[in-house]
Structure formats: C-alpha cells, structure tokens
C-alpha cells in the first residue's frame, strides 16, 4: 500500500532508477494531470420518466428534521398520485447555492428547488425560474389564502418567481434557564437598543456568560435598526442608507463590546460563522442569538436549556412578515404541470401542512396555519407560532420588497467589514465607508 521500499540498506542503486532530467520532467508534467483527473468527481444527474409515470427532482437545504418532514409530505403526494415519484436531494445550507448554480449551468437544474430572498432576484432575472403568475391566475397554484405581502415578496419584476413556503420574522432567542438560575429578568419586546445593551451587560456581570452575541455583522438586525430610523436596506434596487447610519450602528456595538455586553471578537466570529445548530445561545457562549423565529425548533433540538424568543430591540413595527423561503420551478423543466401541482400541494394541502408544521416558517396558507396552530404538539413549534402571531399584530403597514441581485454579496461584505471593526482593525467610521462602497459595488449601483 505504501510506496516505500522495504529494505533500508544502502543497496547499489540500479542505474535505471537514478533520476534523470527527462524522467523528472515527464513526472512533473504528468503528476498534476493525474491529480487533476482524480479530483474530478462525477455528478450523475439524469431526468427521465415516460409520459405516464413522472419523476420530479426536488432539491432543498436544511437539517435532518426538515428532510424527515419533507419526505413524509412528498410520500403523501405519491400516495395520492401514484404516477408521480420524487428524486429528492437535500443538504446543509452551506454550499447549497453553489451546487444549485452548478446544476443550473449544466442545464440540470432540479424541477423544483428551494430558494430564498438572497438569490431569488438573481435567478428570476437570469430566467432560471418559471413565471408562476399564470398558474396563480388560473388557480393551479392557489395563493388566495396567502397574506398578500407574502405573495408580493415572491415577485421579481412583476413575475411570480417563487411560492412562499413559510413566513417568519426576526427573533431574538435567549437562554431562559441561565437567566432563571441567576434570577435575572428576561428581555422584553419593545426594549430600546440602549436598554437591551444595559440588560446584556448586567447578564455578563452576574452570570459570567456574555449577555448577547454582537449583531453588528447580522444583516437582518441592521435592517430592522435602519427601518426603525426611517431608513431601509434597499429601495428601488438601491441602497436606502448612508455612511452615517452604518457608523452609528457600528458605534452602538463598539460601545456594547467595551461595556462587556458581548463575547470576545473570536467568539463573535464563531457565532457569525456558524449554522443554526451552533449559534452561541445553543453552545452556551452567549445568552442571546439573533435568528429567525422559525429556527426555534432547530435551536431547541441542540440545547437542554429552555429558550425564549422576542422581537429584536426597538420598535417591533419595523419588523415584517418575510417569506423565509420559496419553492421555485425550473423554467426548463419538461414536467411543468406536475411540478406546479406539487408546489400547490405543499403550500395548500391541509394534511401536508400538518406534516410540514413550521419548519420552513409559518404555513403560508392562513387556513392551514390556523389548523396547524390548533393541532401542533411540538412545544417549540407552538412557541414559534404564538410569538410570530403576537408579533404579527405589531408589524407596520409596509414590508420591504425582495432584495436586489447581489444581496448575498452585501451580506458577506457586512460580515467581513463588521468583523474588521470588532477585531479592532478598523474604526466604525472607516468601516461604514468601506461597507457603503462594497455594498454599492455588490448590487451594481454606481
């Protein structure tokens, strides 16, 4: 197995084995080619199915729980329509969009795929997604029972690019067990940012666990903050904030770090870099994490502590009901009608809704949502529904439009630049300038 000669003695070398210039050259040329060839794995993806039987490929990201629930819902569909079967592929969020782009480039995009507001504008504008507006108009995809804002949030340039599969909103999740242990009060919805930071500082002091993850790199926290200040992240596909807003935001958290409300920069980075299941509130490295309310069950699965969830600090009316994710249909699919029917089923069928629960967010169909709310047994799902319904009554009248193409790059630039500030390698002012420049470049704004 190992390419090592067994004998360790200094044998007289055979002349043939002596390195010669030509042999070395040949080896140097061939070795990278061989390595390169070995590195190219095969990705076999073949569609197919006769006219009668239909096999639909479907692709989503998520954790085990989501796979389990989605499997069950799709099995129910096959039970009702025995000619339709599914080729299911799922994976973690990290790398999902790389894979989806690669499949699309090869012309092998799945018939149905999950997508979110990071990429839906890009995919729609590039003509990858099927316009579902005609299906919605004809009732093949029934969005009559959806909240109107949720349908609108799936539209790009007037075309329905995806059907919302869940509704969520920002949620500040805290470790209640830890607070109770030290007889500390829980944070409350409507607290000002300053009060929240004071509260977190006190938690750090008393419980010896940092009160909160530093959210300066968390785009949805910045977004809420901007909306509370009469600004927004985007308006008409342009940035709707300026350097002064970002400077204030970075300064707010610089103050919090100096007061000891947040963990050390390396732990902040760890939190920014982690999947849902490793958020600091779960790993015990901070008492609060900045997430989306539908992520509660996944968080709960990874900790023994009791978790609570409230709105982000400040006026909760700045939050909005966001389509957490969508199912879109590939424009080039040969099984359009079947795919449309499946998406409609997943969004509107009461039994399917019951199976899927709140894993992707609150069910988009309000009838299904009410039914799920009445029958749900999972405690953290129940909590999600209660909190979201309660926050829903406080939402303001306007909700943002779908973020423009380049939004995902804006997010990564925020993380990079906010961390430069947390590590002390940049000032809030310099960071704000850098972020505005980078964000403009990302969305192609001149």
């Amino acid at each position: 197995m190992l390419p090592i000669t067994r004998s360790a003695t200094h044998d007289q070398p055979t002349p043939a084995l002596r390195p010669t210039r030509r042999r070395l050259l040949a080896a140097a040329l061939v070795a990278p080619l061989l390595l390169g060839a070995a590195a190219c794995g095969g990705d076999d993806d073949s569609g197919g199915g006769s006219s009668d039987k239909v096999e639909l490929s479907i692709f989503w990201w998520g954790a085990d729980k989501r796979a389990e629930l989605t499997d069950k819902a799709l099995a129910l569909y096959t039970q009702k329509h025995p000619n339709v079967t599914f080729k299911k592929t799922w994976q973690a969020n990290q790398g999902y969009f790389d894979k989806l782009a690669t499949l699309t480039a090869g012309g092998n995009a799945p018939d149905i795929f999950q997508i979110d507001d990071n990429f839906i504008a890009e995919y729609a504008q590039r003509g990858v997604t099927l316009d579902l507006q005609p299906s919605a108009d004809s009732g093949k995809i029934d969005v009559a029972k959806f909240p109107k804002s949720l349908v609108e949030y799936g539209k790009v340039d007037g075309k329905l690019a995806g059907v919302a599969m869940g509704e969520n909103t920002q949620g500040l999740v805290f470790d209640k067990t830890l607070l109770d242990k030290f007889k500390l009060p829980a944070p409350t919805t409507g607290m000002s940012w300053e009060d929240f930071i004071k509260w977190a500082t006190n938690v750090s002091k008393v419980a010896k666990v940092p009160g909160t993850q530093d959210p300066s790199a968390v785009y949805q926290a910045l977004w809420v903050y901007l909306r509370q200040n009469g600004k927004d992240l985007y308006k008409d596909n342009k940035l709707a904030f300026d350097e002064a807003d970002i400077t204030k935001w970075f300064q707010l958290w610089k103050g919090a770090r100096e007061a000891g409300a947040t963990p050390t920069p390396d732990v902040i980075h760890e939190g920014n870099d982690s999947s849902v299941s490793k958020q600091l509130v779960v790993t015990g490295k901070a008492d609060t994490s900045w997430v989306w309310v539908n992520q509660m069950p996944e968080l709960k699965k990874n900790t023994k502590s009791e978790l609570g969830v409230i709105a982000y600090p400040g006026d909760p009316s700045a939050q909005w009901a966001r389509a957490s994710m969508y199912f879109s249909i590939f424009k080039g699919t040969k099984k359009k009608d079947a795919a449309i029917d499946v998406v409609n089923f997943l969004a509107n069928d009461p039994e399917a809704g019951k199976i899927l629960g709140t894993d992707r967010g609150l069910p988009p169909n309000l009838d299904v949502r009410a039914q799920v709310a009445a029958s749900v047994t999972d405690a953290s799902m129940k909590q999600t529904i209660e909190v979201q319904n309660e926050l829903g009554t406080k939402f303001g009248p306007t909700s943002p439009a779908v973020p423009p193409k380049g939004h995902s790059k804006v997010k990564t630039e925020l993380v990079r630049i906010a961390e430069e500030v947390t590590y002390g390698r940049s000032t809030p002012e310099a960071g704000a300038t850098a972020f505005v420049t980078a964000a403009k470049a990302a969305i192609g704004q001149s």
């Binding site: 190992l2 390419p3 200094h10 060839a37 390396d266 990079r416």
Partner: protein, 327 residues
C-alpha cells in the same frame, strides 16, 4: 503527445531478410504499433480533450464575457478586457488574496520541504520496525486534502479546542487560532506542513539512490557528518529536491480545500485565509460571476506557469544530474 512517440522495441528478433525490405517492414510495423499506442492512450487523450483542454479553452473565451452560470453560454456578452481591468485596478479583495496566497506559499512550502527532508533523513536507517514508522509519518498525507482532516483541524484549533486544552495544562492561555485573524493563516500553514508525507517518501527514495561508497570514501577522508550531508547528500539529492520544490510550489499556490473548510468557505476571519483559489471559487459560484472567475483562473495559470519556468531556469545552477549523457 510525446509519450506516444517513444520508440517501441519489437519483442521478437526479425527474421533475416534483405536490408531494403526490412526497412519497409519495420516502418510499417512502427506505424501499426504507433496506431496501437494511440488506441491504448485514447482513454487518456479523450479525457484530456473532453475534461481538460476544451473546458480550458472555453474558460479562456468566457474570461472576456460577463458569463453567469445561470444563463446559457451563448447568451454571455463579450466585454473585452473588462474582467482583467477590474481585477487589476478595481478589486482590492483580489490583491488581498494574492498577498495571502504568496505569504502562504513562501512560508509553508520551504518549511514543508524542510520537514520532509529532515524526517526522511531520520527514517533512512536500518532499524526494527522502520517500515511502520515510515507508514505512520506518511499517514497524514494519505488523508491528504481531505475535508475530514480540515474539519478536525478546525475543531482542534478553535478557541476551546483540544490544542488550547492541552496548552492550559501548562498554564498557557492559547490563542483563538482559526477564529483570530492573526493566527488563522499560520494554522492553515501548519496543516499544510504537517502533511509532508508525499515529498518525504520521494526524498527517502532519493536518499537510497545515493551510492554508499561516496559516504565511505568521505568518512575515510575524515569528513564530518555535516560535511557529508552538505557535500554528498544535498548535491546527490538535488534533482529530487528540485522535483519536490516544483510540485509543492504549484500545490501550495493551489491550496483550496483546507482554507475552504477552516473558514467555512468565506476565507475569514476578515479575509485572513482568503487564498486565491477560494476568492476565485467565491467569485464564480457564490457571486455567480463566472466570467470574472475565468479571468482570475487564467491569470493564475500564467503566474504559476511563470514561476515554474523560473524555477526550471534556476535549476541549471544547483541541480546535479548523475547521468552525464543527458547534458
């Protein structure tokens, strides 16, 4: 390809025939065998054309377009040198990635070769169980660029990982390693250096080729171990050192997997591990700017090609080949 033109010797002795006749037959036979050679090579040739050459040429074309993987190649717009202009003049992250990659290669490659040579010298002994030792030292390289090793590395070198637990036994408070912008790149280098098995095995094979009588003669003349190493081992080993240097330099510049895994694909914290290939990958597959990524790839190819040519041209000053007829 040059390999196909290598002379193939007939296995049976040719029957005695007149000389002119024989030449014709030999030529025919050569042709036939040449053809057979190409047939046997065809899997590799097809692979070279289909998997390497054609996509490479296509990517050269794409580097002058605004191609995104979401659209058909035919719909990409020709934008001339715009991608190259942006790369060199308008993308600070590009130059940052160049700096990170150069730092990585300049430090990690020499250290890796030095460790490989050092361990090879230690293992070039007659001793019970030496094969087992060689196997053990080679093991990290078998795991090679694997994702699993990088994941383990990431968890070992996190703020509360195994390394810091170990250091705390001695009362040392360790750094946050992969989560600290100062230490993330050194941690990545350490991983590369630790996987020195492949060059080590080649060094070991090279050491065995050094004629033992040279050492004997030197010892008789009273040469110290250091002089024996500097004046016999190193010169005799120089072709192997050269080979390893070229391969490891190319390899070092191309480092991707471990940087990707250690930083969760971002090159973070704050771009401290943003290797060139990682930036290229993110440009193509995350930002969906495949035309730009193609341009980056071609510049990269040109730079690595140049470095390799430079290495080869310096080789004549310090690489000694034992077979003089090749000169």
């Amino acid at each position: 390809m040059t390999m196909a033109q290598m002379p193939v010797r007939p296995t049976e002795p040719a029957p005695p025939v007149p000389a002119a006749h024989r030449r014709g037959r030999v030529a025919r036979r050569r042709r036939r065998e040449g053809l057979a050679g190409y047939v046997f090579l065809s899997p590799w040739l097809l692979g070279l054309l289909g998997i390497t050459a054609i996509p490479m040429l296509l990517s050269l074309y794409l580097s002058f377009t605004d191609y995104s993987p979401l659209i058909p190649v035919t719909e990409a717009n020709w934008i001339g040198l715009e991608n190259y202009r942006r790369m060199f003049t308008a993308d600070p992250q590009y130059w940052h990635a160049v700096r990170v990659t150069a730092t990585f290669a300049l430090i990690a490659v020499p250290l890796k070769l030095a460790s490989a040579l050092g361990v090879a010298l230690l293992l070039n002994k007659t001793m019970r169980g030496i094969s087992a030792f060689r196997g053990l030292f080679y093991l990290p390289s078998l795991l090679g660029g694997s994702v699993a090793v990088a994941i383990v590395w990431r968890s070992m070198f996190s703020g509360d990982g195994a390394v810091n637990s170990f250091l705390s036994l001695f009362g040392i408070k360790g750094e946050a390693w992969v989560n600290d912008p100062t230490w993330a790149l050194p941690t990545l280098m350490l991983l590369a250096i630790w996987q020195f098995g492949a060059p080590m095995v080649i060094f070991l094979a090279g050491l065995k080729q050094v004629p033992v009588e040279l050492y004997e003669a030197a010892s008789v003349d009273g040469a110290s171990p250091w002089r024996r190493f500097a004046h016999i081992t190193l010169p005799m080993l120089s072709p192997v050192i050269f080979f390893n240097l070229v391969l490891e330099t190319i390899h070092g510049f191309q480092g991707f997997t471990s940087a990707f895994v250690l930083s969760n694909g971002t090159g973070g914290p704050v771009d401290s591990t943003l290797m060139y290939t990682l930036r290229l990958y993110n440009a193509g597959f995350v930002e969906l700017n495949m035309g730009y990524a193609s341009a980056m790839a071609w510049v990269f190819l040109a730079v690595i090609g140049t470095i390799t040519v430079v290495l080869f041209s310096t080789g004549r000053f310090w690489v000694h080949y034992s077979d003089s007829e090749e000169r």
